[in-house]
Subunit: 375 residues, 4 copies
């Protein structure tokens, strides 16, 4: 099988996420990183190219050069993965799509809701696939959770609690040399949301992905805890889903001691489900009769989506990289005209995420007024 | 040592909480149940008296009779424990205090905030002690958590998340013969709050007890999930503490499969603490440097309050009844003029709880408007 | 209901277990401590009597005086609880039984297997009840585990692993003033076993109680880890049950950082069960088809024995004291001629425990030779 | 960087472990699978070659053909990974080494201890590297555990408990078409050990790797639980380490409901460590003073070995495949003449594993006699 050729936009020296995308994309041998615009500094881009082990000629100094250069080759890239700060998502994606090159973009979709709507229009009028890495939907048991809701095991969804707790921004490390923190706390590069845009949007997407319900309204309290920070580093948001179920989304980047605490709880009429990203290989189902069940990844009890997303037998833990690789494998299937489009978030999911961020910011500014999501 | 004599108001046949109060009160042999007005039905009150093993003459048909009867005895009761539905808290407590009899009341303080203010006035002008069983403050590690915050281990408190999840009202069991559910879902007996008054107030009290911070404002979303229910059975409340820290209080009685899921997380500048009522004998502290610590009940590392609240060595789990007994033991000490009044919630805590309930109800009715607590 | 009158032998000042027995015995109001021989020092016995709040005349200087004194009273004790070091179990129990007074004895039965056989003869020819506090069989979920095995949920038992890990003797605290450690490490008072007699025997009893299988043979490795210690402080024992199933019993008192780590795992043909004393309110069942189930104390799914042993609703943790109280409540029922004798360990269980200790010591001395249990 | 070229021996259709080795080896882009002898059936080998995406000419029908074919190429393989049943390890490894091709072999080293000694002689006289995939030593926190012991954090090691519980052979699936079970339960292909050779040896290696102590003696009880099975499917082994510390190794493949339950506990004078493979990203340290610590993968608290073995930040779980990849990455470093040889198990570790298996089998046959390991 011919591997799909990937170009990376962003992911230069010092970036952690570039290496993760490469590793995840290549894990199943269906994709190969062959080119990149790793940095706007030509020397640093070449250096990164060497680290990634690609042809030096294909380490470009800009995404424009990448797209132009690859179009001229017979063996040019099939898609770009965009892993830049948010403000570059729109121009990079637009350029790729204009050249007929598919896009796998990091989240959130763009820096602003306006940009998101513009990108949605561009994607809508392009034939090239556009997808988004809401990574956590790649976990086998997240997909199993979605199946259980779909299959009616929970009955009507009655309440949803989703949390995302991190502590890495508990100090102003953006002023202490952290590149990661720097752009995320800069409105020009991150957009109008801080914590809500960086991780809140993951939590939002996870809740909608698993429940199949859409958030209809929200009432947000966004906070800047660390002095001097321009964007929110903590957010607490009341939710109302379109079937009337209430919910809460709790996220923070100042939750000292927490690492990547994404947790989802969905309570239905007949059962509830509990999932924690930090222990992703088990899913707890509590039945109305008092029985608690533990479902473990890899067992024969799982549905098709979860089984397909698992590489090793039960008891052999899989983690974040495998979840990420699942998204890329499913993306590769879509590129080949196969696969299940519902498994890989698309432009609508990206657009909804941006509306979520925007409405949360507006709600919070308005003193936690309820705002409707219209998308 | 002469045991303190206890009269029970409420706790008749079918009541679970009466037996719990008796057991907790007597556990340390400092208190003895000797009388009661267990039911307004004289026969049922006598029957309960037999079950409790008290003198048949001291099983009264009403709290008025109890108070009158006991006053005439040389060996009359020293205090009453009130375990009736909420609407009787005020009249029963008032009658006891008027007779110079101390009161240990179940929570919430009363059925309404108005009643609470009235009771506060009565308590204020009475010499007899008045205390409240916010049970969960009796756990050794809750007291240790309070100490750690006080001692500055966490640094400035930055965020508080407190949850209380139950599932026992996931179905309309108040229409299916459950006495417990019946009065709790009846506004005339419960008051204006349902879930928020029954368990939300525990969560509220726990957060204030441990952090030493007071909730300054709240923004509430109270829901009636089960059809036909008149009071909220689910609530999600944004909080702001008086030091500016944000918070969230998430409670539900329709969280199917959850039993008594009271969970507190406090994030400070330097460390965070995590405690779960269902596994009450360990407390997790996460330090800013990435180190997680587990503190277990009974070890020599604990402060004086936690040590005093522990009866057995580490590894021998203590639970709900022992926590409850700790409150009674501390109450007995106060009755003897000893002890630490800050360990047993008093009228101010009860009044604050009622204001919390009231503001939450009003906020929710006003479309989740922020409301200030003035108490 | 008339309470059963209890006398305590042992449990003087500095003893932790005396207070625990009193608390457990009285928890359900069916038993009352009224007398004791708390110490062989008359002054210390009187002092303990005051602490326990009993009539000063009934704080005796010896068990002989206790038995003689109480026989003369119309309201004399109905039974003695023996909580002395092991070497006094036989004489104290014999004296009580000879006077027609029932006995609830701490474990192990006696100091030596010879003494145990003698006591078994005495019990056999006495009409007074004799029972033993293997405390851990009092936990609701231990009783549920027994029921599940009995009801065939596990199928044929294939393997049993039972562990008991403590760390409190990791240092030679018997030389540093610890009374508890002193007698336990003294062969004259403890008998021929150290760790194996103090906690190994609990693990042994628990395994037999739950599985309904009897250990047929064992192969033991007993160790003295802390220098200067005369008795084993660590033991690892291979087991063979009478249905042919293999097993292992791992116990230690030098397992630094472990508190009271009693853990049982039973693997059957169709399912396995896992229980941990330190989190006693949940029981895990793993089915052959890969499904894991969590059974929580207090739910309606439990069998009659477990339900009867539970005082509070699910989610309100019960612990060690309640388990202990269950044994006493069941003992009280036996005293009244009611109840289920299989729930409270008796002389046969005590005798088997002593044979286990003896065979383990002999096996270890013989270089871990397999030894048969004949009892 | 030129990738190291890998040939796979074994791993044909239906094999799970072949794909795992490929994925792990290629994860960090330092190794590339280019050839293989996937099956002794030429058609099946070619088919597997297609699945792996390699040049059809390099899918050979035998390891002899693989070695011969690759030697003739300028771009021939640098090493073979041997993933066949045990009985082929010796001939395949010998042939590769004779051709100057390095070897990365699955465990156990060979089918018999005699073969192991022969292979050790061959390796000793060869210049080509020979290494073994005891996978679990690749976990970051296993390496951290080793560091903590080395650095004296635990003090003198006093007791070691290592367990490996699986349930997949709880039924005779070797008679029901399971290829994996078939060869493992066939003495001609597996060797003299069943469970002890398949997973017991992992547990043995892990204990020695982390503690730095060597097992000096063992006393084994090997069992065949499932009727008709020729090799042990359950084993319980008493251990004595060379510093005098006792230990126990408990392994089973009939532990119904357990998946891959490898658990290590090491108790030292000053602290103990606990690690579970199924939740590999945290390590618990219990200090003598009662403090429990949780160390999480990826944090700055870890030593160099653990940090180097981690690809993502804390809270982003890594698992089995990443641990496996760590071994391959370290192997690649050794191939380049770099790296730390102590991180990748070598021939001595393989030989010790085989002696362990052999002595356990002999000990068990001799009625659990203590046997010395001399290697």
């Amino acid at each position: 099988m011919q591997r799909i050729r990937m170009g990376l936009i962003g992911g230069g020296p010092g970036s952690f996420i570039g290496a993760v995308h490469r590793l995840a994309a290549e894990m199943d041998r269906q994709i190969e990183l062959v080119a990149g615009a790793f940095s706007s500094d030509p020397g640093r881009s070449r250096e990164a190219g060497r680290t990634y082990g690609i042809d030096p000629d294909r380490a470009y100094p800009s995404y424009e050069a990448l797209i132009a250069g690859e179009r001229e080759r017979g063996d040019g890239i099939d898609f770009v993965a965009i892993v830049t700060p948010n403000h570059l998502h729109l121009p990079a994606a637009s350029a790729a799509l204009a050249a007929g090159i598919a896009v796998m973009s990091d989240k959130p979709l763009t820096a602003t809701f306006d940009q998101a709507r513009e990108l949605a229009r561009i994607v809508g009028s392009s034939d090239a696939p556009f997808r988004l890495t809401y990574t956590y939907t790649g976990y086998p048991l997240v997909r199993e959770a979605r199946r259980l809701v779909r299959d009616g095991v929970l009955g009507k969804v009655r309440k949803v609690i989703v949390e995302y707790s991190q502590g890495w921004l508990a100090e102003p490390i953006e002023q202490q040399g952290s590149k990661q923190a720097e752009w995320r706390s800069d409105p020009k590069r991150s957009g109008e949301g801080g914590c809500v845009a960086d991780i809140g949007v993951h939590a939002f997407n996870l809740a909608e992905f698993v429940t199949g319900q859409r958030v209809e309204r929200l009432c947000a309290d966004l906070n800047r805890i660390v002095e001097g920070r321009q964007l929110d580093d903590d957010c607490n948001i009341l939710l109302r889903f379109d079937n009337g179920a209430p919910g809460a989304l709790i996220a923070s980047q100042i939750a000292v001691g927490d690492h990547n605490g994404l947790v989802l709880r969905v309570y239905g009429e007949n059962a509830a489900l509990h999932w924690r990203q930090e222990q992703p290989n088990s899913l707890r189902i509590n039945r109305r009769d008092g029985r608690g069940e533990i479902i473990e990844a890899g067992t024969g009890l799982l549905g098709a989506d979860a089984r397909a997303a698992t590489r090793v037998p039960p008891g052999h833990p899989e983690g974040y990289l495998e979840a990420f690789a699942n998204l890329y494998r499913d993306f590769a299937a879509l590129m080949r005209g196969e696969g299940d489009a519902s498994l890989v978030p698309g432009i609508e999911d990206g657009l909804r995420g941006m509306e979520f961020i925007h409405r949360a910011v507006v709600s919070s500014r308005a003193g936690s007024a309820w705002m409707e999501l219209q998308g």
